[in-house]
């Protein structure tokens, strides 16, 4: 006697239809979302890796925003210092002119007045602010860094501090974003205000003009040196932007590898699942309509 089989084949047939339908549904969902991972359980490791990937992408976006802001600030500082350098160049040329022994004292005083004007302009540049805060006041950003002072030999007093700030510009990467104003304008090795003040005084009195010119030269070269900081900072910003933009592309590629659906594969899966579903349906219909022995009993 042969082995008896389960006469109720309906559950198996229904199960195969359901299986095909489920596969079609999965493929449809992947087509709709463009993702192969739509629930954590679809691929737990990829879903967890996506958390880190998303966090990095979002951090990088913020770094890029910061870099754009920093770029604005550095450009403002650099352009102020560029003007300051030009002022000093003017001071050097008028100082040289004033050192000419043939000049009358009235001529020298006129030049001295010009130098004092330069100092006033320099003061305004040293007090440059960007988006509401002073650039050259260290971390005392809400205090105007340089003020006129009758007690100071340079005629200008520094009210800022030496504080420097560092800002993160990438994962584990940070940069200094300022130099104290006293380092730039009232440096012990080249004090811009002192030099201009001394030059004006020398021109007025007619004595020590050469020494004052040397002092202006020193202050000029110190100013130029400090300006390099902002030039470098700008190129570092540029480098970091390039690096981060590339990293964003890499992260996006990674993300696609983690959770993106392979569309060719998905489309193939979908059509396969549909074929399977149709086959299951047609088989079920045929099997269920098969005659039984009862059909033949007359």
């Amino acid at each position: 006697m042969s082995i008896r089989v389960n006469p109720d084949i309906l559950p198996d047939l229904v199960a195969s239809i359901e299986q095909a339908q489920q596969e079609a549904q999965t493929a449809t969902q992947q087509m709709a979302t463009g993702r192969s991972v739509n629930n954590l359980s679809d691929n737990p490791a990829a879903a967890a890796a996506l958390v880190g990937n998303d966090a990095l992408t979002s951090e990088n976006d913020q770094y890029l925003t910061n870099l754009t802001d920093l770029q604005g600030k550095f450009q403002a500082a650099d352009s102020a210092l560029n003007s300051a350098v030009q002022l000093m160049t003017t001071a050097i040329s008028v100082g040289t002119e004033g050192a000419n022994g043939t000049l009358s004292s009235a001529d020298r005083q006129a030049i001295a007045q010009q130098v004092q004007g330069l100092q006033q302009q320099m003061l305004a540049l040293a007090n440059t602010s960007y988006e509401g805060t002073y650039i050259f006041s260290g971390t005392n950003v809400t205090t105007q860094p340089f003020a006129q002072s009758s007690t100071s030999s340079s005629g200008v007093q520094y009210n800022g501090n030496d504080g420097v700030t560092t800002v993160q510009i990438g994962e584990g990467q940070s940069m200094q974003t300022n130099v104290g104003g006293d380092q730039i304008f009232t440096n012990a090795n080249g004090n811009v205000f002192q030099a201009l003040n001394d030059l004006a005084n020398a021109l007025n009195s007619g004595a020590g003009i050469d020494a004052a010119n040397t002092e202006v030269q020193q202050a000029f070269s110190k100013l130029t040196t400090q300006r390099v900081f902002y030039g470098n900072a700008l190129s570092q910003v540029q480098n970091s932007q390039n690096y981060l933009n590339q990293e964003q592309v890499d992260l996006s590629t990674q993300q696609n590898q983690l959770v993106g659906a392979n569309m060719t594969q998905v489309v193939a899966n979908e059509s396969q699942a549909q074929t399977a579903e149709q086959a299951a349906l047609s088989a079920t219909a045929q099997i269920l309509s098969l005659p039984t022995l009862l059909t033949y009993i007359k």
Binding site: I3, R4, V5, N6, P7, D8, P11, D12, A15, R35, V37, N38, N39, L40, S41, D42, N43, P44, A45, A47, A48, A49, L50, V51, G52, D54, A55, S58, E59, D61, Q62, Y63, T65, N66, D69, L70, E131, G132, T133, S137, G138, T139, N140, V141, T142, N161, G163, T165, T166, V167, Q168, G172, S174, T177, V259, T292, L293, L294, I297
Partner: protein, 461 residues
């Protein structure tokens, strides 16, 4: 020596036996689609022979019994698989909702709000005295806190749903067990009087299988047709003709329903079935996820509080708590997370008191890469949690599919023994019909012979 009357008797008995067989066949066909029905077969035996004059004479056919074709072993296997499958299903019902709370693939999970908070600090570090940036930090912190609050609240509400289904399952169990006890008593009575209890056993199997969908049970054959049903840990549900109700009582600490049998709290011993799945998700899985969220929330809160206290705010005053300090031990930290700072100037961005110093903001930013949550950075800790939940759901899904396939297989095996085959019944129908017709024909012939004999004797008078 055979007689005409005994021959007639044999023929009539054969008709009766085949009638019984036709009746059984008809009943099988009628119940072909009845769930749990086991096909019945008729056992024919030879009637005891009689001896006459040293010769044994056959006395025809008898129906010895009507037998339900069933396998107790397969039924036990089916119940075991059902218990597992139901536990996985009920567990997944809740866990599939839990995993959507952590679905980062849709882009608005907790990760975005934690990273958003750090990004706002990043922005502030570049311009620490900027009030707009400070306000943005507070908004991002509040957003993160609300995200923690809402995920935690959603988890609690899913836990409450599971709790509701615990009560429902217990009610369903309590409705089933008295019916099983009742069937026990009917079956043992039938068995003791030698009746066919097949249909009653089918019903009882069906009920025990339904019970298996609700709770893990053990079945013991207690003899006399009785089945003893207990929970897998041994708490009695049905013994002979008595059923034992489970009761529920809220736990004073959690408010969730605990399950009692004969006055003992058996909640933690229950496994299997919808009840087992609901208890697992309610008492074990969700609390564990909550606790992971709590340590993430409290670690962030504690770190930020101590850093903010070490710095100076925009007005040069020492900083206070950034967040409202989490409860001791961190329990409930995620649910209660809230920002303590009300004014943007109170963010202690500076370490030396000057408005433009960002050292303390940088210290806060560093938290992003510090292993403050059980040896992991905040995002890594969260990512581990996401993996853990996804993996739990995924492996349970596989197990559920496995047990589903196993159920299908066992059901096929049961069907191969107990299922009604229309073709088989039709063949039997023809066979019994022919036998009946033959017996009837034989009776008619014998009857006519008897008539002949009677006529013969009456004509000789």
């Amino acid at each position: 020596m055979g007689t005409l009357s005994s021959a007639l008797n044999i023929a009539v008995q054969a008709m009766l036996a085949n009638e019984t067989a036709l009746d059984t066949t008809s009943n099988n066909i009628a119940n072909a689609n009845t769930p749990g029905y086991s096909r019945q077969t008729v056992n024919f035996v030879e009637a005891p022979p009689v001896e006459y004059g040293g010769q044994l004479y056959g006395t025809g056919v008898q129906v010895s019994q009507i037998v339900s074709q069933r396998s107790g072993v397969l039924q036990l296997l089916l119940n075991n698989d059902t218990q597992q499958q139901a536990q996985y299903s009920s567990y997944l019902t809740t866990m599939q909702q839990v995993q959507t709370l952590f679905n980062e693939t849709s882009g608005n999970g907790l990760q975005s709000s934690i990273t958003g908070f750090f990004n706002s600090l990043q922005q502030l570090s570049e311009d620490p005295s900027n009030t707009t940036d400070r306000q943005a930090v507070l908004t991002a912190a509040e957003n993160m806190a609300q995200n923690f609050n809402s995920i935690s609240a959603n988890l609690t509400s899913l836990q409450q749903n599971a709790d509701t289904s615990v009560t429902q399952s217990v009610n369903q169990i309590n409705a089933l067990t008295p019916q099983i006890a009742q069937l026990n008593s009917q079956i043992s009575e039938a068995v003791s009087t030698g009746q066919n209890a097949g249909s009653l056993m089918d019903q009882r199997d069906q009920l025990i299988n339904q019970l298996s969908g609700l709770i893990g049970v053990s079945e013991i054959d207690a003899g006399n047709g009785n089945v003893t049903v207990t929970t897998t840990a041994g708490a009695p549900l049905v013994v002979d003709n008595k059923s034992f109700q489970l009761t529920t009582q809220p736990d004073p600490a959690t408010g969730f329903q605990h399950i009692y049998s004969l006055g003992n709290d058996i909640t933690s011993t229950i496994s299997g079935g919808a009840l087992g799945g609901a208890i697992q998700v309610r008492d074990s899985t969700i609390p564990s996820i909550q606790s992971s969220l709590d340590s993430l929330a409290s670690s962030l809160e504690n770190s930020f509080n101590s850093i903010n206290q070490a710095g100076f705010d925009l007005n040069g005053n020492p900083g206070g708590n950034f967040f409202v300090p989490p409860p001791a031990g961190g329990v409930g930290a995620a649910a209660e997370m809230s920002v303590a700072i009300t004014d943007p100037s109170q963010i202690a961005a500076s370490q030396d008191g000057s408005a433009g110093d960002n050292s303390n903001v940088n210290a806060m930013l560093a938290v992003q890469n510090q292993a403050i949550v059980n040896g992991q950075t905040p995002i890594n800790a969260y990512s581990s949690l996401v993996f853990q939940i996804g993996n739990d759901v995924s492996s349970t899904q596989s197990e559920q599919q496995g047990s589903q396939a196993s159920i299908q297989q066992v059901q096929n095996q049961i069907g191969s023994i107990s299922g009604v085959s229309i073709n088989e019944e039709a063949a039997n129908l023809i066979q019994y019909q022919q036998a009946y017709q033959a017996a009837a024909q034989a009776a008619a012939v014998i009857s006519s012979l008897t008539q002949t004999a009677i006529t013969m004797f009456s004509s000789s008078h």
